[in-house]
Symmetry: C2
Subunit: 352 residues, 2 copies
């Protein structure tokens, strides 16, 4: 895969498309990114001058079979053949759905991802996961298929609200913790609230390469790839609880809080260094704030954690934990009383 990090995404994309020399090309985007990203990109790329823009409705609720069918129809109407290609311009919803449309059109044509949010740049562009939601379940239908090229640039990010940036940065913190003490320190030393997009690009590059290394060692999620679940067992529980309260939080915020819970458990079970735990908790509290929970919420949180699809054994709750940054322990089963103790310490660290 051709993976490019650049401050000049239009130039990079133009070169890539010229080299692919596809028999026809189309752009897939959504109503959020159509005017802000897809049209300017087409204007700046001679190789995309004749590309029709296929636009789907923005939002995860539209990552569905109706949008997918409409994209396939428009690919047909654009006269795309087996030798054609598409460029997905947008957040994770567009790269997921557009990637799946391309992976299945005429049994698979080439596609390029141009992720326009920090979360999709860090998380969705590498790993080969494509797909749609179906029957009320997220990513229920899909396939593993790498993009032929990914163009990553922080120059798209200036148009995003700060909560989007913070949300994506939580996945970067996760990658840093999975990778090494050095990587983790580099991230904790960067102030994502200051919006220095030039300084952010090399951090994004390192973060994507951490994920790429892990995915390449375990493309189908049988072992090591579960390291990427760090922060996500508790994180998904926070996210679902916020949804139930009808006060939803961005995915990355929930992951950031989940990372603190997982490091508390890591400290309790594997002696993860307490100074690093305190440091992360302070960073998370400053950037993401807190979600108010009390001990009355523990049963509901435990219940939500036990339904997580990462649990192989019914009833048991499965975590990815760390002995230290870079020292990963997958498939850790934590007891109910340990999780409750960890939530006590989490609330203490976060001042809830």
């Amino acid at each position: 895969m051709n993976l490019i990090f650049t401050h000049h995404p239009a130039d990079a994309l133009n070169t890539i498309v010229k080299e692919m020399s596809p028999a026809g090309i189309a752009i897939i985007t959504d109503t959020n990114t159509h005017k802000l990203c897809a049209e300017p990109l087409r204007e700046a790329c001679p190789a995309l001058a004749d590309a029709p823009i296929i636009t789907i409705k923005a939002g995860d609720t539209h990552k569905d079979i109706t949008s997918l069918t409409s994209v396939w129809e428009q690919m047909q109407a654009a006269g795309l053949t087996r030798k054609s290609a598409v460029v997905n311009v947008g957040g994770g919803m567009v790269t997921d759905l557009g990637g799946f449309a391309a992976a299945t059109f005429k049994r698979g044509i080439r596609f390029v991802n141009a992720p326009t949010t920090l979360l999709s740049a860090v998380d969705a562009a590498v790993g080969g996961k494509t797909g749609i939601n179906f029957g009320g379940l997220k990513n229920e239908i899909g396939t593993f298929r790498d993009a032929d090229a990914v163009v990553i640039s922080t120059s798209w990010l200036a148009t995003l609200p700060s909560s989007e940036l913070r949300s994506g940065y939580a996945e970067m913190l996760k990658h840093g913790l999975i990778d090494s003490p050095e990587e983790y320190r580099r991230l904790i030393g960067f102030d994502i609230s200051a919006a220095d997009f030039t300084g952010l690009l090399p951090l994004v590059e390192r973060s994507v390469l951490v994920k790429k290394r892990i995915v390449e060692q375990d493309p189908h999620e049988h072992g090591l790839r579960r390291a990427l679940n760090l922060g996500h067992t508790a994180g998904h529980a926070f996210e679902s609880m916020a949804m139930r309260r009808e006060r939803p939080v961005p995915h990355g915020y929930a992951v950031a809080w989940g990372l603190v819970v997982d490091l508390v458990l890591s400290h309790m079970l594997f002696k993860f260094p307490s100074d690093m735990l305190r440091e992360l908790a302070a960073y998370v509290r400053r950037i993401y704030g807190v979600m108010p929970i009390s001990c009355d919420d523990y049963p509901a949180l435990l219940e939500l954690m036990s339904h997580d699809k990462k649990n192989a054994t019914p009833g048991a709750i499965n975590f990815t934990l760390l002995e230290a940054p870079g020292k990963i322990k997958i498939d850790c089963i934590a007891e109910k009383r340990d999780i409750e103790a960890a939530l006590d310490i989490f609330r203490d660290l976060m001042g809830i």
Copy 2:
């Protein structure tokens, strides 16, 4: 891939499913094969005792997004997980659609094919092509994904009309011609109209292995795999013309006639031995009869051939030809006057 040829398909399937030990299993079949094949198979397989049967409407017109969506819904309703599997029991329509449903459910679960027609045993079970028709085009949406196991048995075939058997046998003749003089002679020496299913199984096995060898050398159809197009350029033209006349012919009949045309061209351009050509023409005439065409039909046939998706250059007509059985020439461009001459000789050989 686990590829089994057997006179006892239920026993073989039972062993395979027990070894897979899936977390849940379902059978996918169609209204033709539900009662005749799927139910008896489930009764004879203890490992399938609890498998729900997902039934789609029979016929290529139902190999569509509506049937696919319904299969995905029923897979969800059956509680299938990433560790589950499905068994596709039916002809090529069921193995194509069921294979695609499995390849995309939760980003891909395991599946077993039990083809119940000769054509699907020989052609659809190996090669990894899965998919559905879409927007009026055949196999427009799909993916390349091998079944985890294929159970091939001629014991299903007794219930089929003789035209189905003859149709499938044309693909076997094609494989014999692609493979070697010995393989070709073995097939031409077998009387498919006599319905000796025990004697047929080893021929099917050899035929599938020819296709498997070719597909393994060229899984994504970039070169050698086009050898499998032998007989199909003229064959598709005959098939389409019969459709236009509202007197449709089975696919394999059109392929059998197409094989004769291609061998005539092979004789004209590459000195394919004339005795073998005459021998094949006599076999085809006896088993498949003839389709009445006159020289008035040549312009329409040439027009249909030039629209074939195998043509890379607009206007040029692309054939797979042979110097001799086993000596393949792919990407042969034939001139209009050569094709017309070949059709003259074809009519002469077939007594039209």
